[in-house]
Amino acid sequence: MVIRVTNRRKKVKLCREDKIYYAISTTLITLFFLTVLYPIIYVISASFSSGRALMSGKVFLWPVDVGFEGYKAVFKHKDILTGYANTIFYTVVGTFINVSMTLLGAYPLSRKDLPGRGWITFFFTFTMFISGGTIPNYLLVKNLGMMNTRWAILIPGAISMYNMLIVRNFMQSNIPGELQEAAQIDGCNDSYYFFKIILPLSKATIAVITLYYAVSRWNSYFTALIYLNDRNLIPLQLILREILVNNEVSFDMLVDPVLQEKQETLREQLKYALIIVSSLPIMCVYPFIQKYFVKGVMVGSIKG
């Protein structure tokens, strides 16, 4: 019965005004959709096109003179490879530190039976409103002897207060307190309760903050810009900045002498290929993280 009703409804003819409305709204959506899509397709096509086709302006939508020189150059460029490895290291280790520290802070704060909870919460949240700023932080890192070491990237920014509040609010309002009382009666201590009950129940929220942390680790360049000089330590984003934004492609870095000859045409190809290669990891996980998007946005707006 029900099915037939909906079927019939679909066949109802749209009135003229509705048709106009749908035409306009769909055009708007499509227009924006194409505006977002076109540069992406163009960059992909350009990365597979020959340098000469790029320089003479023949690439509009599809690759012209398909080739992989750009990619070959990217994978022979020593700085890019080092940067890539460094970024993977910073993202994996850094996100691990972020998530563990956030959970360590969020769990006790979510417990209503923690003596002094109000004071400790104040101690943490106070820092959201007043912060030392760049220079005092810089001097601190310098005085701690972390300048030009991996620690300067990994340790500062280990906890985002905002994410910690998200997790705390979730644990506080979505995990019933009765669960903890019951566990306590059964002789479950506080850390066992955390690992056996809280963690499994907060999986989705942890996934969301892991996503937040990982993306910001992968994309960040400011800390590296001020704390690192050693070219063996700098992350990919700084290399990208040199090549894409400041347009400095050092071809000495290309080990292959044959490639060196084609410098001029290679430059543009390399840049386009580099864009693709450097955003590949996030694009690979993109389909899997999509289901967390809505949750990810909404989770921040829940008030605890």
Binding site: V36, Y221, F293, V294
Partner: protein, 315 residues
């Protein structure tokens, strides 16, 4: 008697604390971290009132009172950076909010589920591209000789001399900054409105349809009023951060030709401390502190308004 009861109470508290010792152990690392990386730098704020000398350190540097602030307020950078900061943040606040709301409304009323999914998938994607890449892509596409802009220009006009360089035009900077931000964030920013729209009671739509309301009328009289609280709250909260535009994008988009419109507070403060020939940590800290105080005041004002209007508060 009283003393005894007090002692007993104290004992009770100690007992309670002891019972929760594991929780304090959990807090140990975060507390150390916050002491070291949040509270110790606060001690460094005094640099704003000092003439910093690296040899003497923070405490022993010469106290110069408000001189750093006076220097900032007196320089022509003061007006320029504040105007530039406000210009791009208000511009982007208005345009990006309006567009995300329209986008969400249009997408919500779209009858083709499959197409909707594809549009969402593609438009959310740029959010994950790094700022460096966004600016890099922008620079490459707008390159007048070898970029897409130059290519299309010569294809359309038939002239093979490169067109004007948009990237070097100061008056184009706010537009480039804001619209590239919209390209990157419109889809993502609309998520919150889309999920607010998903919560709209379908019976309202049913009833309106039976009464002969067109889709557009339903958008005007059902959808918009339903998400109005979300819109108002978000707008108010965004107003709280108009003075705190991040350093990263503006810094990357700067070049010598567009500095008159692209120098904002955060980039100026960075340059004062790191990329000028004479590093001036005192001045930079003063600028940072000034900005921090303004942000704090804005946040408090905005939060008070938000509490009154929509009963949503940050704390």
């Amino acid at each position: 008697m009283k003393a005894k009861r007090l002692a007993m109470n104290q004992n009770k508290t100690i007992k309670k604390v002891k019972a929760r010792w594991q929780l304090y152990l959990f807090l140990l690392l975060p507390v150390i971290y916050f002491c070291l990386f949040e509270y110790v730098p606060m001690y460094g704020i005094q640099l704003a009132f000092k003439n910093f000398n690296a040899r003497l350190g923070i405490w022993d540097s010469e106290w110069i009172g408000l001189d750093n602030f006076k220097r900032f307020f007196g320089s022509y950078y003061f007006e320029r950076t504040i105007v530039n900061t406000l210009r791009i943040s208000l511009y982007s606040l208005v345009v990006s909010s309006a567009m995300s709301i329209i986008f969400a409304l249009a997408l919500n009323s779209m009858p083709w589920e499959k197409y909707k999914k594809i549009v969402q998938m593609v438009t959310y994607m740029p959010h994950f591209i790094s700022t460096v890449l966004i600016v890099g892509i922008l620079n490459m596409l707008l390159n007048p000789s070898v970029g897409l802009y130059g290519t299309i220009y010569s294809a359309v006009t038939g002239i093979y001399t490169p067109p004007k360089d948009i990237l070097g035009m100061a008056e184009a900077f706010p537009h480039l900054y804001v619209w590239s931000g919209i390209w990157q964030g419109l889809g993502w920013n609309s998520i919150i409105y889309i999920s607010a729209l998903a919560g709209v009671d379908t019976e309202l739509h049913e009833a309106a349809r039976i009464d002969g309301a067109t889709r557009f009328k339903r958008v005007l009289h059902i959808d918009i009023p339903s998400i109005a609280p979300t819109i108002v709250t978000l707008l108010i909260l965004k107003c709280g951060s108009v003075m705190s535009i991040g350093f990263e994008k503006a810094y990357l988009m700067q070049n010598n030709l567009n500095l008159t419109t692209s120098e904002i507070i955060s980039t100026y403060s960075y340059k004062v401390s790191f990329s000028s020939t004479v590093t001036d940590f005192g001045l930079s800290t003063a600028i940072g502190l000034f900005n921090n105080v303004i942000n704090l005041i804005l946040l408090i004002i905005v939060n008070t308004i938000s509490k009154r209007v929509s009963e949503t508060s940050l704390w």
